[in-house]
């Protein structure tokens, strides 16, 4: 079997076009709880779009221009919604036992995404160049230093914090989200727990 044939077999086994862009869903996917994931993703899209615009006009834009201030507000609220939806998404997925039937990788990548997003949001707060950023920078340094992370991550170093916020952490979040979504599309929605009287599959 050629490498191309092996690749074809892998895709057929794991992620066909029907999986990637489904036109039908199991009927048990019938609750608002299933929307938290897509709302998280849409919030992330808004965070990235507004973040790109803020990056184009520079970190001072927020402080010298009303339009810059507005885009900063959009970025701020997109981040707030992102965390609201990711918390709802993770909570509902836990209570559905969505990590069953071999879906542990999807769960773990999701948790890693949350971890990366927390640091992305944290460095965002420290990058705002306002009082909150100033205070949290000097406060957070004690926590970072106590854990030994402060030896290379200096929360009081604006250049480093801003670079991490606009480059490293968003890249990590986006890569993890892409992998997370590929796993979701590959695995399809987990089946409900057995009904009363129904045997565990």
């Amino acid at each position: 079997m050629s490498m191309t044939e092996k690749a074809q077999g892998f895709v057929k086994d794991t992620l066909t076009l029907d999986d990637a862009l489904p036109t039908k869903l199991p009927i048990y996917v019938n609750s608002v709880a299933y929307l938290f994931g897509v709302f998280t993703l849409c919030s992330l899209v808004m965070v990235i779009l507004t973040g790109l615009i803020l990056a184009i006009f520079g970190p001072n834009w927020n402080h010298v221009n009303a339009t810059g201030k507005f885009f900063h507000s959009l970025h701020f609220w997109a981040a707030q919604l992102f965390f609201a939806f990711i918390v709802l998404h993770l909570s509902t997925k836990y209570f559905l036992g969505a990590f069953r039937d071999g879906r542990w990788k999807t769960w773990m990548i999701g948790v890693l995404t949350l971890g990366a997003a927390i640091f992305s949001g944290f460095t965002g707060y420290l990058s705002a160049a306002n009082w909150s950023a100033q205070w949290h920078s000097v406060q957070a340094k004690d926590a970072m230093n106590a854990m030994g992370v402060g030896g290379f991550f200096f929360t009081t170093n604006y250049s480093q914090v801003l670079t991490l916020h606009v480059a490293l952490f968003p890249a990590v979040v986006v890569v993890l989200v892409v992998i997370h979504i590929l796993f979701i599309r590959h695995e399809s929605p987990v089946k409900p727990y057995p009904a009363k009287g129904e045997a565990q599959i």
């Binding site: 009927i27 836990y94 209570f95 944290f122 909150s132």
Partner: protein, 323 residues
């Protein structure tokens, strides 16, 4: 569907679904929500604490801060890594502190870097400060400590009126002139510039020294006014009524619980707890109690209620013919 999906979904009734349409509607809803929230509530942007404002409005606090650094006995002098080699005050948990692993990666001599170095610049412009600095540098360490101790004690009893500080006469040596030099530097709005000055100017890539200058009493006092100190849920709070990073409450809550409210190694304990909780969350699919908890709680029956109504409603009906 893929072979795997086909196998898993075998026998499960399906319904039509338009992923792209749903995604676009969701994006529209979220975008509208973000725009409305941004228009109505804007975003937090309280002004920073600047040397100029502190020097003009709270000169006594400014002088106390500068004198503390000049004494060579400030908290930063004995902070430990990454600033100083002194490991006595580092936070430890079950043995050596994690801070010792990388050690001193940002060397900082608070007396020299936060006071003497800025005063060296002031001395170029002010002959009195230059003379005072010369006296200071030629004095013994004991003499320097005696001057700063006496001046620091005097500041504790000093009065502040109309932006000026009245200090009782005493044996302070060159310290009052040096501290007035620091105060003038702040009033001129040049403190942060002097602190961040480096060999790569005009680039100031690291503003750590300027951030550390007011971090103790001045910043804490401002934070207290905004309900943002560690004992007031710290980082989860934002200025005014706007939401901060509320999702960090599982972290901030530990600082509200004794003995962590006052424990000298609270940061390393809370940090370690967070690492532990993250690992628990990460390994949920494999942790016996945690992985079964959703089934025991039964919240899933609300989300999948339609499914269970059909399944459990259909089951007795299917059995009837057999009776």
């Amino acid at each position: 569907m893929s072979r795997r999906s086909d196998e898993y979904m075998r026998g499960v009734p399906m319904k039509p679904y338009d992923l792209i349409r749903e995604g676009l509607i969701a994006l529209g809803i979220v975008a509208a929500l973000v725009i409305v929230l941004a228009i109505i509530f804007s975003s937090p942007n309280a002004p920073t604490v600047r040397g100029e404002d502190v020097a003009k409005n709270h000169p006594l606090d400014y002088l106390k801060t500068a004198t503390d650094f000049l004494s060579g006995e400030s908290g930063l002098e004995s902070y430990g890594p990454p600033y100083t080699k002194d490991n006595e005050n580092i936070q430890r948990i079950l043995g050596p502190g994690p801070a010792t692993v990388l050690g001193v990666t940002m060397p900082l001599d608070a007396q020299k870097d936060l006071v003497i170095a800025p005063l060296d610049k002031v001395a170029v412009l002010n002959k009195d400060v230059a003379a005072a600095l010369k006296v200071w540098k030629s004095a013994s360490e004991d003499q320097q400590k005696a001057w700063t101790k006496a001046y620091s004690d005097a500041l504790d009893k000093a009065e502040e009126a109309n932006g000026e500080v009245k200090v009782a006469a005493g044996e302070y040596g060159p310290v009052p002139i040096m501290m007035m030099g620091m105060l003038d530097l702040g009033r001129a709005g040049l403190l942060e510039g002097a602190l961040t000055s480096n060999e790569r100017l005009p680039y100031t890539l690291d503003n750590t020294k300027a951030m550390l200058f007011f971090q103790e009493d001045v910043d804490s006092s401002v934070a207290n006014g905004y309900d943002m100190t560690g004992l007031q849920w710290g980082i989860t709070h934002e200025v005014g009524n706007l939401p901060g990073p509320w999702w960090l409450w599982p972290y901030a809550i530990w600082y509200q619980i004794p003995p962590l409210t006052t424990a000298p190694n609270a940061d390393v304990i809370v940090g370690s707890l967070m690492v532990l909780f993250f690992l628990l969350l990460f390994f949920v699919p494999f942790i016996p109690v945690l992985k079964h908890l959703p089934k025991w709680i039964g919240f899933y029956r609300i989300i999948w209620r339609d499914w269970y109504e059909k399944q459990e409603g259909a089951a007795p009906a299917a059995k009837k013919p057999g009776k």
